[in-house]
């Protein structure tokens, strides 16, 4: 395992220290998925499995081209198919590649209790470091997109790494390279946004007035973005969240509750300490013993000599 240069990550799960900021000029990368160019061929799925050496068990046909039926520790990306009849009554087959969105503000990372099990590199990739993963499943709860999956065998959480191993040597992710129609593009985030702009213009010229970019600001933007023909209704695309955000419940749990709890516990302990210091112990006095003996003695004879209770 090659160690990262310490300056190369900007976020690290369960860490209270400020990450190094020196390499502030590293380009942010992004994967742009142009749904309007996607033919749902699953080359991305295939390339992902091949490059990452993942093989799910062979499943069954379950009433759709969606196979395997869900993301899993062995399935890091999945084509989702939705048959949608539009207002004009024409059929649209909305096909979307599902997988980690590599949020700028990752819910998984926020939720993760294991220091360094989830990191975000300076280029924006959110990566799971399996070695440090404790398998608690908090990332699953933190993720607004329902992406991480916990393995039942090794109890580690898995998801798309955006092929951090390829990107780190200057290559594009496997799915990007494979995509036959260029529906998946990869580059700097700003280039990808520019390119998305051109695509959206083309789509508008073809009658998709609501075409737009999916780069949800609620999670600080994502490093996997979509060009959608119906950007006004992301949920048409097999339930892509309309307004994804880290759940306020998770926010409370991983936000305010943490300091509050420490303060609460600390205060309780301190209260005890200072009570001890100021008031001291509550001790039984000789008078008490006398009174006690008296009460016992008044009503009872001298106790028998017995074995220790």
């Amino acid at each position: 395992m090659s160690d990262l240069q310490s300056q190369d990550y900007v976020r690290r799960s369960a860490s209270t220290m400020t990450p190094p900021k020196a390499r502030s000029h590293e380009d942010q990368v992004a994967k742009l998925i142009d749904v309007s160019r996607c033919i749902g061929c699953k080359a991305c799925q295939s390339a992902c499995m091949e490059w990452n050496d993942l093989r799910q068990e062979i499943g069954h046909f379950e009433g759709s081209y969606e196979n395997p039926s869900d993301l899993s520790p062995d399935v890091w990306t999945l084509m989702k198919f939705a048959e949608y009849e539009n207002e004009q009554g024409n059929l649209e087959w909305l096909i979307r590649k599902d997988g980690c969105m590599h949020c700028e503000d990752p819910g998984c990372l926020k939720a993760c209790p294991a220091p360094g099990a989830i990191v975000q590199y300076a280029n924006g990739i959110v990566d799971f470091i399996s070695d440090k993963c404790i398998g608690c499943g908090y990332c699953v709860k933190g993720c607004p997109f329902d992406i991480p999956r916990i393995s039942k065998t090794d109890h580690k959480s898995y998801k798309c790494t955006l092929c951090s191993d390829r990107v780190s040597v200057g290559l594009e992710p496997a799915c990007v390279k494979a995509c036959p129609t260029g529906a998946i593009m990869f580059g700097s985030k700003s280039d990808m946004k520019d390119w998305a702009g051109e695509r959206i213009e083309d789509l508008k010229s073809r009658g998709f007035d609501k075409a737009g970019l999916y780069d949800p600001p609620e999670v600080g933007g994502t490093h996997v973005m979509y060009v959608l023909h119906h950007a006004d209704k992301p949920s048409l695309y097999s339930g892509l969240p309309d307004k994804p955000r880290i759940s306020p419940v998770v926010g409370a749990w991983k936000g305010i509750l943490k300091p509050l709890a420490l303060v609460g516990i600390g205060l309780a302990a301190l209260a005890g300490l200072f009570h001890w210091v100021t008031e001291g112990p509550n001790e039984v006095t000789e008078d008490d013993e006398a009174e006690g003996a008296r009460v016992l003695g008044e009503s009872k004879p001298e106790p028998e000599t017995e074995t220790t209770p």
Partner: protein, 811 residues
């Protein structure tokens, strides 16, 4: 393909009909997306199902399987009626003006010359009226009632939008919208490309489907230009190469025909090949045929082939029937006329129609040899695999050999892609276990047979004993040596006929087929490949991807036949004066002294435009044929005939409902079903996750599409009480498939002749070996009948019934 994959990006309109390019050829399809993005192109898809290609289309229209000719004839009618044709192109480059013989006619579904008994045509009336010099008469004013364009106008007049919709089930408004889009490409600087595949070929009228679109493309002036053409997206990686090298029952390398019984002598054989030009000034490339054949014979039999023995003409087998195609082969097997069969990388038990018949046929063989990297179903046809392959092993007397071969990664060699590029590939690793290359196996078999004939004698051993085998390692010939043999070399010093100077020394590899001679001084195993491996080295291994105009032509990447030409008929990309029709996307242009441009011109670069040599030099008149003369089995114009199994009568001519010249064996005819018992139209196809029957052996692909299913529309599912993902029994007259149902909005009932018609989609990938779940295979259902010209089986339109059923015990 007439053009290249990348050239698709130059199109203004891409029509995918008779194919499903996005699913079957995703990486080639990228150029369609590129055309949309970079060239503002529109994509139109016409398909019975809303496919993954349709999912990115600008416009989609449904069509009933097997009715494409009606649709396309309707388009032709529209173009002619609206005069949306490229006049100058049509006049100069097509046979629109030529006059057809008196006596040619068409009535009630039949062209002139039909014989009921032989179920074939006497085609003598399907020809031009010739003048005294033997040239075809012409009327450039198009006034003559029998000039081709007027006959065509008359022929397609019946295909009104109402009729088209009645036959195809395509709503009229959708049909007309597509007509409009197509008509817009008649402008000289606009191009439409047609991408098609087995969706057109696998019909009893397959060749005519393609012809119909080719005629449209000629009318629009879209052949030969950048972004145009007829682009057959071929299936397997080297199916183009195998066809080029002539591995078909009636072929020899380079599209030379195997002799027929009636061609009793070499001269007689040549007489029918060397077509005379039908127009003044025209050159006919077939005039050179003798050079190609003699060079082939020299390559095959070397010194044994001499002028005196007609270059061993009699050592070639002669054909008594037009084709010994696979449908015929299995008919012969079933009739006990065959003793052995060798399947080299081919899995007919999965791939050919009427699986039951295939299994019965194989069971009657004495021996079966399979050569394959994978454990194929065919090699295990004798083994019982339950309902997916019921067999009584003990009763099957066939000896079976399963020979393990290398795969692509374990050998050197060249493959010819759909755009006719010969690309070399290199070995990356050794084959597993004892697997050997097909070359090694064929050599091993050949040596043993030759040895047996040497020792024992036997039937006509001469061609075996004298076959050239001058390879450095005779046991395992080097692919490079074989490539050189196909390329050809000079056997003697070649002299310039005029100066008598030696221009090519004996033993030299040839630069191209222009150097071939008919006097036995050259040898070339495949004339169209001549130029692929020259003294400059292996041209197929070239890797310079430079694309001079960014127009999709990389002339120095690998090598394309013929003569490294990338766009066939590129002469037609320029007008009569040699100026490109579309100045923005020129292919070649006349610069005053020669043809220049990004591609190799169709003929000698110094041929002046004023020489009026037509661009279509493979045709004797040099023109694109709107009228096919005698080249097609069922007529010079395409006509709509219903599939052999069809839910309706032919509304145009109920008495001649089906292709009148389709060859149907009696037992196959008995196995056709009627719409009464099998009311739904079925069509078979591939899914993008799989490649035929190979990828079910690959774990990833098995994961991506694990199990057999059929696709049915929601309406039919409701009618039949079929649940999403529920079990169904799909049956035809020939067999039953029990699998799951994919109930989808993507297949809607079509209104055909006033009645709702349901389509059932049958993907074809599943069998009983490999890693995916066991399946019955689509060919359990399909009828054993082929196209009348090519005998390509009618996989794309047949009849089935669908019923709800319960899960099988084994599932």
């Amino acid at each position: 393909m007439t053009n290249t994959w990348q050239d698709i990006r130059n199109a203004n309109l891409v029509i995918v009909m008779g194919g499903n390019a996005a699913e079957a050829h995703p990486c080639g399809f990228k150029w369609v997306i590129e055309a949309k993005i970079e060239n503002g192109a529109k994509l139109v898809v016409v398909d019975p199902r809303f496919t993954r290609t349709a999912s990115v289309a600008d416009y989609y229209a449904p069509i009933r399987p097997g009715t494409d000719i009606a649709f396309l004839s309707g388009v032709m009618r529209y173009l002619l009626e609206k005069d949306a044709i490229q006049h100058e192109y049509v006049r100069a480059y097509t046979n629109a003006s030529l006059i057809v013989k008196d006596g040619f006619g068409f009535q009630d579904g039949l062209f002139s010359g039909y014989s009921e008994e032989t179920r074939s045509y006497d085609k003598s009336s399907w020809d031009y009226e010739l003048d005294e010099q033997g040239y075809a008469k012409s009327d450039d004013t198009w006034q003559h009632p029998r000039c081709v364009i007027n006959l065509l106008r008359q022929h397609v007049a019946r295909y009104t939008p109402e009729t088209v919709s009645r036959i195809c089930g395509t709503p009229q408004d959708k049909f007309l919208h597509i007509c409009e889009l197509i008509a817009a490409t008649a402008a000289p600087d606009k191009a439409m490309t047609s991408l098609f595949a087995l969706g057109w070929t696998q019909h009893s009228v397959g060749a005519q489907n393609i012809r119909s679109m080719a005629m449209i493309q000629l009318l629009l002036g879209n052949i030969g230009v950048a972004g145009g053409g007829m682009n057959a997206l071929r299936g397997h990686s080297n199916i183009q190469g195998l066809t080029d090298v002539g591995l078909l029952s009636n072929q020899m390398p380079g599209y030379l025909n195997l002799p027929l019984d009636k061609e009793t002598s070499f001269d007689e054989y040549m007489r029918t090949k060397q077509f005379k030009p039908l127009r003044p000034g025209q050159i006919s490339y077939w005039q050179n045929t003798r050079k190609f054949v003699v060079s082939l014979q020299k390559a095959l039999w070397g010194d044994a082939a001499t002028k005196d023995n007609d270059w061993c003409y009699d050592w070639l087998p002669k054909l008594d029937v037009p084709l010994y195609d696979i449908i015929r082969a299995f008919e012969m097997m079933n009739n006990g006329q065959m003793g052995g069969y060798i399947c080299q990388g081919f899995n007919p038990l999965q791939a050919f129609p009427d699986r039951g018949k295939i299994r019965r046929g194989l069971s009657k063989l004495k021996f079966l040899v399979t050569m394959d990297p994978l454990d194929t179903e065919t090699s295990r046809f004798w083994q019982d695999f339950g309902p997916q392959n019921p067999a009584d092993s003990a009763a099957i007397q066939t000896e079976v050999f399963q020979l393990p071969t290398t795969c692509f990664a374990e050998e050197n060699g060249s493959l010819v892609n759909s755009a006719r590029w010969l690309q070399w590939h290199w070995k990356a690793a050794d084959a597993p276990g004892e697997a050997q290359s097909d070359i090694w196996i064929m050599a091993g078999l050949f040596h043993r047979l030759r040895e047996l004939y040497r020792k024992e004698g036997g039937a006509f051993p001469d061609p075996i004993l004298n076959l050239t085998w001058k390879y450095t390692d005779p046991v395992d010939p080097d692919p490079e040596e074989l490539a050189k043999e196909m390329n050809g070399r000079a056997l003697a010093d070649l002299e310039d006929p005029a100066t008598k100077a030696v221009v090519t020394k004996a033993g030299t590899l040839l630069d191209g087929f222009a150097q071939l001679r008919d006097d036995g001084s050259t040898a070339s195993g495949c004339w169209i490949f001549s130029g692929c491996f020259t003294e400059k080295g292996n041209q197929m291994a070239r890797r310079d991807a430079t694309d001079p105009r960014e127009q999709g032509i990389a002339p120095n990447w690998a090598w394309a036949w013929p003569a490294n030409r990338r766009i066939l008929y590129n002469r037609a990309s320029a007008d009569l004066d040699g100026k490109p029709w579309n100045p923005a996307k020129p292919v070649i242009a006349w610069n005053g002294s020669k043809w220049v441009g990004i591609d190799v011109p169709d003929y000698t670069p110094t041929t002046k435009p004023s020489d009026s040599v037509g661009p279509f030099i493979m045709n004797a008149e040099g023109m694109g044929r709107l009228f096919a003369r005698d080249m097609m089995a069922e007529g010079p114009f395409p006509e709509h005939y219903e599939p052999l199994e069809s839910p309706v009568e032919n509304v145009l001519h109920p008495k001649v409902s089906h292709n009148p010249v389709a060859r149907v064996f009696d037992d196959d005819r008995a196995a056709f079903g009627s719409p009464k018992n099998f009311p739904y139209v079925a069509t078979t196809y591939r899914l993008t996750e799989h490649f035929h029957f190979w990828t079910k052996h690959a774990l990833i692909n098995a994961i991506l599409q694990p199990e057999e299913f059929v696709e049915i529309g929601e309406a039919l599912a409701r009618e039949k009480g079929i649940a999403q993902g529920g079990w169904v029994k799909v049956s035809s007259k020939r067999g039953v498939v029990v699998c799951k149902a994919y109930v989808t909005k993507r297949i809607k009932p079509l209104t055909v002749d006033g009645r709702p018609t349901h389509v059932v989609g049958v993907p074809l990938h599943w069998g009983f070996t490999g890693q995916a779940r066991k399946g019955y295979g689509a060919n359990t259902l399909t009828p054993s009948v082929g196209d009348a010209n090519t005998q390509t089986p009618e996989f794309k339109a047949f009849l089935v019934n669908v019923e709800k059923t319960s899960a099988p015990m084994t599932a």
